[in-house]
Amino acid sequence: MKPLTGFELLRPSTLSGALELLATLELAWPIAGGTDLIPQFKDDGCESKHLVDLSLIRELNGIKMEDNFIVIGPMTTQTQVISSQLIEENAPALHEAVKLMGSPQIRNRATIGGNLCNASPAADTAPPLLVHDAEVKLTSLEDSRWIPLTDFFAEECTALEPNELMTSIRFPVVHGASSSFQRIGRRRGFTLSVLNLAVYIERDGKNLSEVKIAVGAVAPTPIMLEKVERELKGMRMDTNLLEHARKMVSEAVNPRDSARSSGEYKREMAGVLTKRALSAAWTRVGGKLP
């Protein structure tokens, strides 16, 4: 472990202040809850000379409903997400994912924007937000743009430009929809996901009128399984469909062997988690399984 060294900490209280610092200072990096970055600095040292702490910027924190969208400030902590009824009711997959992340001590610091911007392939908030069709707002001093979360993740980086910050996350509220998050870890509490998966569905009687599936830790970025989604959309929900979905998802992912698991295990389990998630989401929208 290395001593922390070589950086100043700046604590702007406004977004424009933070953007100004990022645009003008040499090697300036934003820092959110610090639960990923600080251990990383202790392991590898810190290349940044100026850490811009975003925790005092009020406009980046909080959860609200706006024009049928749930809007989440990226500096909202995981604890805040867990205690939000709005999230629990409208995006159960996100609620479940965040409840399983870290420990109370970590959830009190770690932020949803930090989890996305750190862009781990296994980030637990990514699959739920992907299936809920989330968009993120990226802001620089000059400009602001909304992009779909699917376009945010790239291999070992994100769509963020050096002078940009993620300043908002939003997704639509859809009646008659539900979602579920499932994961595999090496133990139940306080562990990184070996594999994670979220499913979003809309129900029309006995049929699935919409299906979204996102999987983490099977590729360099979290991915959506569009081909499987198209295949399942409109189909009647029953045990045959669950089995069909399991097979298709296992065939659709191609994870590599990693330190935490073999690729073969992940491929099998992606199918199993799909079944679990589809069943859970279906039950949530009042559906029954024979």
């Binding site: 472990m1 950086f7 604590r11 610090g34 009190n108 306080f190």
Partner: protein, 153 residues
């Protein structure tokens, strides 16, 4: 920088490269806050920040400016902590003792907000505190025992 430590305002020079853990132990002599993994994994350095459990090894000293930090020293006379302490003694929940201050703080934060936790809720509350003597059963029983004793029936 000024912050509130165990009910008293303290003024210190807070370097950005010093963690709250090192500030507390090194400069302020608060030695109940233990240095374990320094990665936020073990919970030995747990403190309450504005009432919420956090790992002080992941917080940079200047980040607590104007905020309330509580360690177990600041809760010596707290009735709930007294119940917890006695339950830990009664149930043999202290072996080497290294995790104990963090366990007590996590247990305290739980019982303060939830007077009758289930065993599952106790486990979740201490999932960020590692006991390397693996004395978890006695610790969980102690927190449930303390809850039982403070419960208004």
């Amino acid at each position: 920088m000024i912050f509130e430590l165990n009910g008293k305002n303290v003024g210190v020079e807070a370097k950005p490269t010093v963690t709250l853990l090192d500030l507390l132990r090194g400069e302020l002599g608060v030695t109940s806050v233990k240095k374990g993994c320094e990665q936020g994994e073990c919970g030995a350095c747990t403190v309450l920040l504005d009432g919420d459990p956090v790992t002080s090894c992941l917080i940079l000293a200047p980040q607590v400016e104007g905020r309330r930090v509580l360690t177990i020293e600041g809760l010596v006379d707290n009735p709930l902590v007294r119940e917890l302490r006695e339950a830990f003694l009664r149930n043999g929940a202290v072996q080497c003792g290294y995790c104990t201050p963090g366990m007590l703080l996590s247990g305290y934060a739980l019982l303060r907000d939830n007077k009758r936790p289930s065993e599952e809720e106790v486990k979740t509350a201490i999932e960020g505190n590692i006991c390397r003597c693996t004395g978890y059963v006695a610790i969980i029983e102690s927190i449930l025992d303390a809850a039982e004793r403070i419960a208004p029936d």
